[in-house]
């Protein structure tokens, strides 16, 4: 089975979903991201979905789960790069993803999370 790579940058974890995920792969991503948040003491999670041409209710629920689990583990999640057609479809489907913070692109997402390559994130300053 494919795996979706999780990159670490400073205190953030970065994921770019580049494949059409089946449900098992989506669940595997949720589980490994949740473990990595603890293992890497991450404060932020950025998920780039600019390559996804659809988000159905299962994938949407998986993304919402990741954000909820991350929050409990003291990490903030930002979803970036959603295509306009995907946003329109999601809302019509009935899934408005409350509780997930979004940003238009990776740049803005990283700013929101205060990620920096050296790990000198402003989130780290309150330690």
């Amino acid at each position: 089975m494919d795996r979706i790579p999780i990159l670490k940058m400073g205190e953030c974890l970065l994921v770019s979903i580049q494949v059409d995920m089946d449900d098992d792969l989506a669940l595997a991503l949720r589980d490994s991201l949740t473990s990595r948040i603890v293992q890497d003491k991450a404060r932020g999670v950025l998920i780039d979905i600019s390559s996804l041409d659809i988000v159905d209710s299962f994938i949407g629920r998986m993304l919402a789960n990741i954000a909820a689990m991350a929050k409990i583990l003291d990490a903030q999640t930002v979803l970036v790069g959603m295509r306009p057609s995907v946003a329109m479809t999601l809302v019509e489907l009935g899934l408005s993803l409350p509780g997930i913070q979004t940003a238009l692109n990776v740049d803005r997402g990283l700013k929101l999370l205060h990620c920096s390559p050296q790990g000198e994130s402003s989130a780290a300053k309150h330690h």
């Binding site: 089946d22 449900d23 041409d53 659809i54 159905d56 629920r61 295509r83 057609s85 019509e92 009935g94």
Partner: protein
């Protein structure tokens, strides 16, 4: 609204629905057909998403089944996609309730049927306990 009258099936494709990976295959097959008839990106996204919901329903709740994907044409020469998903599962006793957002017997969100209806031009469901379920959706090229 009465169902549209289809004057011709231009293309017909059968896909087996047995595993989670078949849901991905359906999405790719529907995308290819939507592109073939020149459907716009938003409508493509809607019909692929609806197909994904219905294919997953057939795999998870219906214990597998068959999908038929068709390019159809009506008398006015309009092209569209008609997709049907048939399973041999336990069937649905209360269809109206099953169509309600948030109602689920499984672990899902209960958005599948209602969502698929909203994303399609036409929606038809046929089901009875122990008889399996057949859902047909149609989306015309805008």
């Amino acid at each position: 609204m009465p169902p549209s009258i289809i004057s011709e099936t231009v293309k017909n494709q059968a896909v087996k629905l047995n595993a989670a990976s078949d849901v991905v295959m359906i999405r790719q097959a529907v995308r290819a057909l939507a592109v073939e008839i020149g459907m716009n990106l938003v409508d493509q996204t809607k019909i692929i998403t609806a197909a994904s919901e219905l294919a997953r329903n057939a795999v998870i709740h219906g214990g597998g089944g068959d999908a038929t994907l068709e390019i159809v044409r009506d008398a006015a020469n309009r092209l569209g996609l008609r997709l049907s998903f048939e399973d041999r599962g336990p069937g649905i006793a209360d269809i109206q309730r099953a169509m309600t957002d948030g109602y689920t017997t499984g672990t899902g969100l209960g958005l599948g049927l209602g969502g698929a209806r909203r994303l399609s031009s036409e929606f038809h469901i046929q089901s009875a306990p122990e008889q399996g379920t057949k859902v047909t959706i149609l989306k015309w090229k805008g």
